[in-house]
Subunit: 74 residues, 2 copies
């Protein structure tokens, strides 16, 4: 799985944990809701600055959003 | 420090550990040597796909190249 796909899955998981909609997250990161949806489906190739904006909006660390599910649970 | 700057420092550190020149690394990642130099100086904002290409060329994990120095030593 590409790192961008792992990132998308983690963004979705943390967003839902916070009870945020894609629209609310899009406002927080200052990006279009369509872009947020594509990020979550792993269809985008975000830059490190964008990764940091998502981490900040989701009140977490960038590396948390880049970790594979297995390495998160161990 | 921006994540892109942390990434640049780690690329440089691991490259030197492998005794690689910027030119050799540039060939391995298929990018211009000037770009590699700018990455190492934190002057670029690479995408996650580029981060993966550097990790592969440096025979390490992407997250290793994205960790802050302090969290690496603990």
């Amino acid at each position: 799985m590409r790192l961008a796909e792992t990132f998308g899955e983690n963004v979705r998981r943390v967003r839902l944990q916070h009870g945020l909609t894609q629209e609310a997250l899009a406002v927080d990161v200052g990006l279009a809701v369509t872009y947020v949806g594509q990020i979550e489906r792993g269809l985008r190739n975000p830059t490190l600055d964008v990764v940091e904006r998502f981490a900040e909006a989701l009140k977490t660390e960038p590396l948390i959003l880049l970790q594979k599910a297995t390495s998160r649970e161990s």
